[in-house]
Amino acid sequence: MSLQRYVLKRVLVTIPILIGATMLTFGLVALTPGDPVDYIIAFQDVSPEVEQQLREQYGLDKPLFMQYLDWLAGVVQFDFGDSISNQRPVTELIMERLPYTLLMGSMAFMVTLITAIPTGIIAAYYRGSVIDQASRVFSVVGIAIPNFFLGILLLLIFASQLNIFPFLAPSSGGALTPEMAVYTLLPAITIGTGATALLMRLMRSSMIEELDKDYVTMARAKGLPERTVVNKHVLRNSLISVVTVAAIQVAFIISGSVVVEIVFSYPGIGRLLVNSVGARDFPVIQALVLLIGVAVILANLLADILYAYLDPRIRY
């Protein structure tokens, strides 16, 4: 089977998974006790008629399955309805915030890959060297340290004491400005540290395992330069076991962004999610949960494709 056919097959398999994700998202949110109307009327004295009217307005009087279909019909057109707490379209609310979180997430992921992969390679190749020892210490600390603590620590050191980074997010200009990118670096590092620590160790152990194999001796026996042996032969096989875990890190980066956005008062969707949960703003919660679910599913799809690209045995 060619790579194209494998990709096609894998994409088709993703469709039912996506449908499942919408059901799960809708179901989980709908089944949590209390609906938005309860929340709206919690501090007011309203008559049962008004309450009933409100329920009809939000379609909450219909059977759950019908509510789901209504919602799904909107979802496929990127229409998640209006926010309950401030009446604006959910899509609009999310689109305001999404670029920031995307910026932070992709920076975190880049920081992770750029540091973890080369360091893992060097640590494996020069086992026991200073770099190897340092990476080991970094990994232990990086995996153990909680994000909120690391975030506050970095803010204290680099923003408060050293004044290298701004303490607050730039207030205007949007996500794609140099100021914003600079500000995003600290939260990105905060989120990326755990993933970096994990991937670095994984890359190292995977490299060590591959370096021991016969094909490496064979490549050397062919007279290839050491650079080619490592970067061409060993690296590709080592990455096979790393890509899957790297994809899972996308989920950790997304979930980590919730805490980190609050620590850094960062205007992304993590904070929107926390606020919406507090307000029981169901349409927004549903949209965000689905968005995160889809992101994780797509990351896995990408990982599978990458996996098949790296390891031809998967394709056949």
């Binding site: 194999k213 016969d214 094909y215 001796t217 064979m218 490549a219 050397r220 026996a221 062919k222 007279g223 290839l224 330069p225 080619t228 032969h233 590709r236 096989n237 096979i240 790296l310 390891d311 031809p312 045995r313 056949y316």
Partner: protein, 363 residues
């Protein structure tokens, strides 16, 4: 001057348990176009010897001393870059297990072509053409299509053919074959041996052939070195080693050749095990297992000597039959009184097709 001259090679592995003396003052020579067999039990240092020739001994191993002269040039004195120009180009290697020797992530063709591009300075297209020719040479049908196959799409025998194609790719003068047929079944083994024979003939390539299988040696090699605990105990022509073995260890090995059609009773192995290469027995390393061992054998370590004259062996003498046993220097009181009975089993085992020797130790 022989093409390859190994002199007093000492390879050590510095392990946690101690220093493994993998080869000990190992000396031998291989002539251009010659087929040189190395036999010996597992752990005798055969693979280490091969890897040393390419300077591929990895930490914790080191080539501690000795010389490896290839066409007069001491390989141990070359720079890494100069050494790379020799690897795969003038000296190449065939591995025991082709399946693990091939990188699963690249096509078979690419793995041949990369060495061709590197050593012969060819561009993509030329290297591709040459690689396809090589695949044809080693008997892979539809070579042009199979070029883009991945190793897992090849059968075991085809994988070994591909590895042989790789070894041949830059017209080497010496191929180091480390048990190239052990992983294969008997029919495929015969095919691969025939292929190697044709190749050696056609390209006039010398082959250092490592094996456990004395039957294969008989069929394939001109001269043989028998190794025990990291050094040679006997060197001679195939005929001498088979019909007139001069070292008790060789005799033991001969009687342990498993042969199709034999009763299992006669398949005797040498009692005991090879010594731990960290702490070797003093004197003759073989004495704990040797039926002829005397007091002197625990004190004096035998040199490799000409079995006729008892004079120190001259490595450059192709016709010399040498063995390392005190019996040949007159220091042993008794003599090696075993009888060698040769039974030609040509008719009995048509699949094997080689004459075999049977040595028996009777005391």
């Amino acid at each position: 001057m022989a093409m390859l001259e190994v002199e007093d090679l000492n390879v050590r592995f510095y392990t946690e348990d101690g220093v493994v003396k993998a080869t000990n003052d190992l000396s031998y020579q291989i002539e251009a176009g010659e087929r040189f067999g190395i036999v010996g039990e597992s752990g005798a240092g055969k693979s280490v010897t091969s890897l040393s020739l390419l300077r591929l001994i990895d930490s914790p191993g080191v080539i501690e001393s000795g010389e490896i002269r290839f066409k007069g040039q001491n390989l141990l004195e070359l720079s890494d870059e100069e050494m790379r120009q020799i690897r795969g180009n003038e000296i190449s290697m065939i591995f025991q297990d082709a399946e693990t020797a091939l990188n699963p992530a690249y096509t078979v063709g690419e793995q041949i072509a990369e060495a061709v591009r590197y050593h012969l300075d060819m561009d993509e297209e030329e290297a591709r053409e040459r690689s396809i020719e090589l695949l044809e040479d080693v008997g892979i049908p539809d070579a042009a299509e199979r070029y883009s196959d991945y190793p897992h799409q090849f059968s075991g025998g085809m994988q070994q053919r591909a590895v042989i194609a790789m070894a041949l790719s830059c017209d080497p003068d010496l191929i180091l074959a480390d048990e190239p047929t052990t992983a294969l079944d008997v029919t495929i083994e015969a095919q691969i041996l025939t292929l190697l024979e044709e190749i050696a003939e056609k390209f006039d390539t010398a082959i250092q052939f490592i094996t456990h299988d004395l039957g294969v040696v008989a069929e394939f090699c001109d001269r043989v070195m028998v190794m025990y605990a990291g050094h040679p105990v006997e060197i001679g022509t195939v005929e001498e080693i088979y019909y007139d073995p001069q070292h008790p260890y060789t005799v033991g090995l001969m009687s342990s050749i498993p042969r199709i059609g034999d009763d299992s009773e006669r398949l005797q192995t040498i009692p005991g095990r090879m010594p731990d290469l960290i702490e070797m027995p003093p004197g003759c390393n073989f004495h704990p297992r040797c039926p002829y061992a005397e007091e002197i054998c625990t004190q004096l370590s035998p040199e490799l000597v000409d079995v006729e004259t008892g004079q120190e062996a001259a490595p450059d003498d192709r016709n010399q039959h040498a063995a390392a046993c005190l019996a040949h220097t007159g220091e042993l009181a008794g003599s090696l009184d075993y009888e060698v009975t040769v039974r030609d089993e040509l008719e009995a085992t048509a699949t094997d097709g080689s004459g075999t020797t049977e040595g028996e130790i009777d005391e």
